[in-house]
Amino acid sequence: MQVSDLVFDANRLLTVKNLYVKYKSYWYIYHVLNDISINVGLGEKIGIIGESGAGKTTLLKSILQVLPINGKITSGEIFYRDVNLLKCSKQILLEIRRKRVGMIFQDPLAALNPVFTIKDHLLEVLRYANETANIDKSDLINIALDLLRDTLIPDPERILNSYPFQLSGGMRQRIVIAMALASARELLLADEPTTNLDVTIQAQILKLIGELVEKRGLSMILISHALGLIRKMTERVYVMYGGNIIEEAPTFKLFNEPLHPYTQLLFKTAPKILEPLSSVELRGNPLDYRNLPNGCVFHPRCPYGDSEVCRKVKPHQVKVEKDRTVYCHIYGS
């Protein structure tokens, strides 16, 4: 085991610095992440909010480097403890994926291979997550059953031999969670774990995730459209827009007094806590990632964004308080 268990700084379990990610299609280049920096402390629960297509999923995928083939990390650093994930050996990256960090993908319908059973999935994951422990297949099956029980799946033996399409969406999401938990011994990346599920099940699943994270003492990055949940389950929040972080604050402060105009609009237009964010109505056109606006990415749609400086200068980090930053010219100088 080469990844050090010592943490040099308890506030920096995971640090992303100045990350840039591009998607190339046959026709265009999309600049999806632009200069993203975040950090997650040991045992900390982080939320990321922003409308659909703000680059949240890409951010999580680039942490584990599981971007689709046309996605490329062009520059930046990702530190996990003391390891730079972008420069470390393949073996260390695999070890971190297998034994330390787990990720729950957005769509439970798409996250399970349709031609393999749940057992195939779980055993494959467990086999590599417990590689050095030298356990045989029946032990693995027992671990799998335990995981399924942990995620409150009824009749786990039957489920184990089912194919994904034979199960309901909520059930599939629980299995995806179980798989993620098999690898997540330190950090759980949860990418909108409740989209595509109906409302009652959404609440159940999120409660389940919250409990399991608490019980296992994991750190977590949670992406969700459900603002109420972010408020309940996280300690600190990043707001993303157009592949940029535009605001960062402790959860309660952000919800009490959002600073960035975008965040303010977000909260204003989504007063009901479970309303999805994508319904935000703003002036101007939706963002075009092929050529992002100069200056502040938000200025074409910002209610105060008509000034010269907003159009020309990219806003710097403004520390409003000791633990709050915002990227907006209103708060500069």
Partner: protein, 351 residues
């Protein structure tokens, strides 16, 4: 409420099964096909008997032929007679060989089937190897080569491949024989009609090698073009699957690449590739015609083309039906394989 042991329930499951439906439909289609060909052959302007026997044939012979095919009766009666004969295993007398058509077919079909078998082996292994290798590394040299090769494969018909291969490997280099199934000096007793299998059964190593040697060029000629395209399809299915969330999920769990590519991406990709490969293999029964002519292969085409050129009605109907039957059976086999691979088909679709 459904009792799993209830025989009615079991029957219902079978009848509702996709495979059963497909098979029944195919058989019905074959029946319809016989009707189409039969009718087409008889409603053409002109006297089919006269056309078949040529303008110089004596009138009594033409009359005799007419009676033999019941051409003097109304068409539905003709079909009825033909059908009753058919169910007794009689397809009528061929004008080409003056024998029962089924006898001819039994003589000539195995050579074509053997060719098909080897083409299928080449196509499947080639597709699997080239497709997965270039699919797991899109943009690599192999991938580029496959792209060019598949384009060439589409543009060059099998008979041209045949001519090229024959020219290079038998006339210039002399590696392989140019025509026929066996060298004149080699004898293999006929048991199944498959030269290589018969030679193996009788322990005739020389016959086996000689048969195989004769098979290589024609099988390659038929396989190359289609194989390149199939590999390309498998490749793009792989590339598409590799970007799917279920593969990225496994990747995020640190599953090594080789397992991801050769197991978790390959299996769902095969589900979309196999129908194409299957259709190509099934079409071989007809496509073999082109290559058999070049290599003077004593297969179905030898009988079929002659029958067609001589307007031998019984022969034509027989060849079309047999080709249809082989095509149908191959397709059913492909369906079975597909059902084994894809649980969604096995358990009757999305719930």
């Amino acid at each position: 409420m459904k009792n799993r042991l209830n025989i009615l329930y079991v029957l219902e499951r079978i009848f509702n099964h996709m495979l059963f439906k497909r098979t029944v439909l195919s058989l019905l289609s074959l029946f319809g096909l016989s009707l189409i060909i039969f009718t087409l052959a008889r409603i053409m302007p002109g006297d089919p008997a006269r056309m078949a026997l040529g303008p110089r044939a004596p009138e009594e012979l033409v009359q005799k032929y007419r009676e033999m095919l019941h051409l003097d009766k109304p068409i539905y009666l003709q079909y009825y007679y033909w059908l009753t004969d058919f169910f007794q295993g009689k397809l009528g007398i061929s004008l080409t060989s003056f024998r029962e058509v089924s006898v001819d077919i039994i003589e000539f079909l195995p050579a074509t089937l053997e060719l098909m078998l080897y083409v299928a082996i080449i196509q499947i292994t080639g597709t699997l190897i080239l497709g997965t290798l270039s699919g797991s590394k899109p943009g690599s040299i192999l991938d580029g080569a496959l792209r060019v090769f598949s384009y060439v494969g589409i543009c060059v018909p099998p008979f041209v491949w045949g001519l090229i291969l024959q020219f290079i490997f038998s006339y210039i280099l002399g590696f392989f024989p140019a025509t026929e199934r066996l060298s004149p000096s080699v004898q293999v007793p006929r048991i199944t009609g498959f030269v290589t299998i018969d030679a193996m059964i009788t322990g005739n190593l020389r016959g086996f090698v000689d048969g195989l040697w004769h098979l290589i060029l024609p099988s390659l000629a038929l396989a190359l073009g289609a194989m390149a395209q199939e590999a390309r399809i498998l490749r793009s299915a792989m590339v598409e699957n590799i970007n799917k969330d279920y593969i990225l999920t496994l990747l995020s769990h640190g599953i090594p690449n080789y397992r991801i590519y050769f197991r978790y991406a390959l299996k769902p990709s095969l589900v979309s590739t196999i129908p194409v490969v299957g259709l190509d293999i099934a079409s071989l029964i007809a496509n073999a015609f082109m290559v058999e002519v070049i290599f003077n292969w004593p297969g179905l085409s030898k009988f079929g083309i002659t029958a067609m050129l001589r307007k031998d009605l019984n022969g034509i109907v027989g060849v079309v039906l047999v080709a249809g039957l082989v095509y149908t059976i191959t397709n059913v086999i492909v369906d079975i394989i597909l059902t084994l691979l894809d649980p969604r088909l096995r358990y009757g679709g999305e719930r």
